[in-house]
């Protein structure tokens, strides 16, 4: 996260490869389900033996035996609709919710976050020198309308995407943050409104950042969690 600060985001999880290395972020939407970006995985069907979700820690490399750390193997992956760039990860067992691990709300179907809503991204990714990646960093961002976003992005932002304001001081997601949440504070709760997707540039000054809009795919998320 560029331009962020060490912070708390109990629904942000770290995806770990078979060597235990962090490679993407994700969001805990149910005790056994994590939503993340499709680009983080090589295939919708490849076995995920050895891949894990780590939650309950702020550290990218927690000490062995850290009591709050929960490591849960990924049991299954379900790829989202073709236009979604999303995947749902089913965990081998439920995580235990506590002060360090919490679920994030899903938005109502097709809900549009009003412009100027306060949101934040979180991740262990690259900080471009502005922050170390060893602890979870959080950065605040304000939502802008797709119409406003498209002025800069020349109409390339679709309805299933959403944008946050491009600030003069670079702020935004970067390498290693992909798959993590854009959480917006709505009606007294933090709601997962966007997913960080690989972008050409990280935190470019004055350029709005683009996220996948979760509300467009909430029906798919609910259906998968119900049927599986």
């Amino acid at each position: 996260v560029v331009g962020g600060q060490p912070g708390n985001s109990p629904w942000t999880v770290s995806l770990r490869n078979r060597k235990g290395e962090h490679f993407c972020g994700g969001s805990l939407v149910k005790e056994k389900w994590v939503l993340t970006a499709r680009q983080c995985f090589s295939s919708c069907h490849e076995p995920l033996t050895g891949y894990e979700v780590w939650s309950g820690t702020l550290f990218q490399n927690p000490q062995p035996g850290e009591p709050d750390l929960q490591r849960v193997p990924i049991a299954k992956m379900v790829c989202g609709p073709s236009s979604s760039q999303l995947v749902l990860l089913k965990l081998a067992r439920s995580v235990t919710l506590n002060q360090r691990v919490a679920l994030i709300c899903l938005p109502p179907e097709r809900y549009v976050v009003p412009p100027r809503t306060k949101c934040e991204i979180a991740g262990w990714g690259e900080g471009k020198g502005s922050s170390g990646a060893s602890v979870l960093h959080v950065a605040s961002m304000n939502v802008i309308s797709n119409q406003e976003c498209n002025v800069k992005h020349r109409g390339r932002v679709h309805e299933n995407e959403m944008c946050t304001e491009g600030l003069l001081v670079p702020t935004g997601a970067c390498e290693g943050d992909y798959g993590g949440p854009l959480a917006c504070f709505t009606h007294d709760c933090w709601v997962l409104q966007g997913i960080i997707i690989p972008n050409r540039v990280c935190a470019r000054p004055r350029w709005p950042a683009i996220f996948m809009r979760v509300s467009v795919f909430v029906d798919w998320i609910q259906k998968v969690m119900q049927l599986e």
Binding site: S42, H187, S215
Partner: protein, 477 residues
């Protein structure tokens, strides 16, 4: 710190049965601490060639036979692992092959071996014993002959001949960096014995065989699970964590001129993943395109440069990986193509901006709206998997059946729940419950907005957090 298991080859979830009722295996010894203790029991016994280890009861059963013995059969077992002495299983020899106990019974010249307990056509002074391992007419090396295992032949004019069994070093060569090497060398180039991949001593490591299934991390054999330059292993020497193994390359030494052609990707070794240029498949090991920035646009460092980051991925050492210029590549089995970056503070980064090659088949029909009225006969998912019949109960038990929704004919794609992402079906793949179909929207450009204006909503059990950061801050300090 060598483990007694190093002398054994493991077949997980396997039992070995002797079909002759007259011969019985040893009794089960219960409450053995672990498989190593079992190996310690079996190892020195000349009539113990293998053992079963029961993971749940910690039982151990010593066996006087292996899978190569007559009248034996291996079968799957939920509880047992089968460990067999390497000398009886390996098809290659270590050193001069004095310990070889395999079943080759033909000489290098194609002659059938004479039984060791026969004195005709060739008389000799050897008497089979458990110690010398002279068994049936199998090739052996009881006198430590430098030519390896040999035998007396059944041809009266050829008294004896070498069997030409290759050393494990020569038996299998390595292509490229040896990621596909599955040979039986279990010593490093300095002669140290390898540590078993399924043990965590003397060196702790992340390469658990169960996690890296496709990497063939068998026993303590040299392998290359991490895209190193050559196959390697952790050593049983506590002072030396890991070392390369001396296994010959399959390719002839490369001349400078040939090397440059080879590096540019003109020669594909066997089993190399399919080459792509504008997108990448799987983890992108076959990507040979020219993307040369990280996802976030940071320029990549040239592979032949050691600045700003020092590294071991030189193009010459990774000839099959096409480490040209500063292009994104995946020479080590990472999650996606990557590169060293030109930014000193950022060593490596993925090139996720390269799109993944689509694994979806071409749409075969189209649907209107959300596809609730679709009554066509497409019966495949977007990945080409055949749909399950709506009336079938396997491999998935459907929630929607023709009884509740008559439009659910045969295995045609339908949308009984009004899914906004289009018609779908349960799939015949047991690992994929349902998926969307090989269909497209008929007039996607004229669709009305799918988004709704904001409405008041309430949340209950999610999205709450404790914002008191005192403890976290102290931890971070």
């Amino acid at each position: 710190q060598r483990s007694p298991l190093n002398d054994f080859q493991l077949l997980r979830g396997t039992q070995l049965q002797n079909l002759l009722h007259a011969v019985v295996p040893g009794p089960w010894q219960e409450d053995v601490a672990n498989a190593e203790e079992c190996a310690r029991l079996c190892g020195p016994l000349l009539d113990c060639r293998a053992f079963h280890y029961n993971r749940s009861s910690h039982g151990c059963q010593l066996l006087p036979w292996t899978q190569n013995s007559p009248n034996t059969q291996i079968h799957h077992s939920g509880c047992c692992d089968l460990f067999q002495k390497k000398d009886y299983i390996r098809t290659c020899i270590m050193d001069k092959g004095v310990g070889y106990r395999g079943t080759v019974a033909t000489t290098a010249g194609g002659l059938t071996c004479q039984s060791w307990n026969h004195r005709f056509p060739n008389d000799h002074r050897y008497t089979p014993t458990l110690q010398n391992g002279l068994e049936e007419n199998f090739c052996r090396n009881p006198d430590g002959d430098s030519g390896g295992p040999w035998c007396y032949t059944t041809n009266p004019s050829v008294r004896f001949q070498s069997c030409g069994i290759k050393s494990c070093q020569e038996a299998a060569c390595v292509w490229c960096n040896g990621e596909d090497y599955r040979g039986s060398v279990d010593h490093t180039e300095s002669g140290r014995e390898c540590q078993r991949w399924d043990l965590q001593y003397p060196h702790q490591h992340p390469f658990h065989p169960g996690k890296f299934m496709e990497r063939g991390l068998d026993d303590n054999y040299c392998r290359n699970p991490d895209g190193s330059e050559r196959p390697w292993c952790y050593t049983t020497d506590p002072q030396l964590e890991r070392e390369f193994c001396a296994i010959p390359s399959c390719a002839p030494p490369l001349t400078k001129q040939f090397q440059s052609r080879f590096i540019s990707g003109s020669k594909a070794p066997p089993d190399q993943v399919a080459t792509t240029f504008n997108c990448f498949r799987g983890k992108g090991e076959g990507y040979r395109g020219t993307a040369n920035t990280t996802t976030a646009g940071v320029p990549c460092q040239r592979w032949d440069s050691q600045s700003p980051h020092q590294h071991g991925f030189s193009p010459e050492k990774y000839a099959c990986k096409d480490l040209r210029e500063n292009f994104c590549r995946n020479p080590d089995g990472s999650e996606a193509p990557w590169c060293f970056t030109t930014r000193p503070g950022m060593r490596v980064a993925f090139c996720y901006q390269i799109p993944r090659c689509t694994d979806e088949i071409l749409p075969e029909d189209c649907y209107q709206g959300s596809g609730k009225q679709y009554r066509g006969s497409v019966n495949k998912t977007r990945k080409g998997i055949p749909c399950q019949h709506w009336s079938a109960e396997t491999p998935h038990k459907p929630q929607f059946t023709p009884a509740s929704a008559p439009q659910l004919e045969k295995n045609f794609c339908r949308n009984p729940d009004g899914d906004s992402h289009g018609p779908w079906c349960y799939t015949t793949d047991p690992g994929t419950l349902f998926d969307y179909c090989a269909l497209k929207h008929c007039n996607k450009d004229q669709l009305p907005s799918i988004l709704k204006p904001p409405v008041p909503v309430q949340f209950e059990k999610c999205g709450k957090r404790v914002d008191r950061m005192d403890r976290w801050r102290s931890m971070m300090r």
